[in-house]
């Protein structure tokens, strides 16, 4: 059984989809990712689909689901690296992926995520420094 790895990077989860998704794989990813968000308290999810050549209505729905599920667990989702042909096909199919944030590449996706959760990020930093400093 194939599995798509989910990497943790600070407050974010990083998913790079290197194969064309089939239904079972996409469903497993949805379940794994939502569980990981919960387990790691991640604030953001970055999904790289630059190697994905087909996104049909089912995969599109899964991507939308991941974004909505993460949202109610207080994590933002950004999809990066969509191929132009995939974007054309998605719109013609009638699937505008509403509510899913997108960015052209990993770098822009990362800064978009950071800007979305900036305020909270500072809070966490302060907390950690507070912990580190011995109070008088």
């Amino acid at each position: 059984m194939d599995k798509i790895p989910i990497l943790r990077l600070g407050n974010f989860l990083l998913v790079t989809i290197q194969v064309d998704l089939y239904d079972r794989l996409a469903l497993n990813l949805e379940a794994d990712l939502v569980q990981m968000v919960n387990k790691t308290n991640a604030r953001g999810v970055l999904i790289d689909i630059s190697a994905v050549t087909i996104v049909d209505s089912f995969m599109g729905r899964i991507i939308g689901n991941i974004a909505s599920m993460s949202k109610i667990l207080d994590a933002e989702t950004v999809v990066v690296g969509m191929q132009p042909a995939v974007a054309i096909t998605l719109i013609e199919l009638g699937l505008p992926l509403k509510g899913v944030h997108t960015a052209l590449d990993m770098e822009r996706g990362m800064s978009l995520l950071k800007s979305m959760i900036d305020i909270d990020g500072e809070d966490i930093d302060q907390e950690s420094t507070d912990d580190g400093i011995i109070t008088q």
Binding site: R24, I54, V55, F58, A85, E92, L93, G94, L95
Partner: protein, 137 residues
């Protein structure tokens, strides 16, 4: 006048067959020099139709053909299943209509992605969907 140049049949019963079918369709599309965007449209359409076949009819058969009309070459796919059939095709072709738990984009969306689309269905006997995507269309 649409001429058939080559024919190939793929049985789709398991999820692995779906991957095999998509690869075969891609091979044929590349062979007739279909552009990348049209390839993506054709493969996405095939993906939608094969999912319908798996979900509602427990699989079926797909015939892959290279067709030619004048100077234009294309790929014709004929999906045939012996499933329950579609009682109301007009409703099934409407955006947002679904008897399953999906978005109801499959059939109308597929029609928008290809050049020619034909669906025939008889309740209790099965459904046949035929699509054509031209290499430059």
């Amino acid at each position: 006048m649409v001429l058939s140049l080559s024919k190939d049949t793929v049985q789709v019963l398991k999820e692995q067959d779906v991957v095999f079918l998509k690869n075969r369709v891609k091979e044929v599309a590349v062979k007739i020099k279909m552009g990348l965007v049209n390839q993506t449209r054709l493969l996405t359409a095939a993906s939608e139709l094969v999912r319908n076949m798996m979900r509602y009819a427990n699989g079926g058969v797909c015939q892959i053909e290279v067709v030619s009309s004048g100077r234009n070459n294309g790929v014709r796919l004929i999906f045939t299943d012996k499933g329950p059939g579609i009682p109301d095709i007009t409703a099934a072709m409407r955006d947002g209509f679904s008897t399953g738990k999906s978005l109801g984009l499959g059939l109308p969306g597929t029609k928008r992605l290809v050049n020619e689309f034909d669906i025939k269905s008889k309740v209790g006997e099965g459904t046949t969907v035929t699509i054509i995507k031209w290499a430059n269309g």
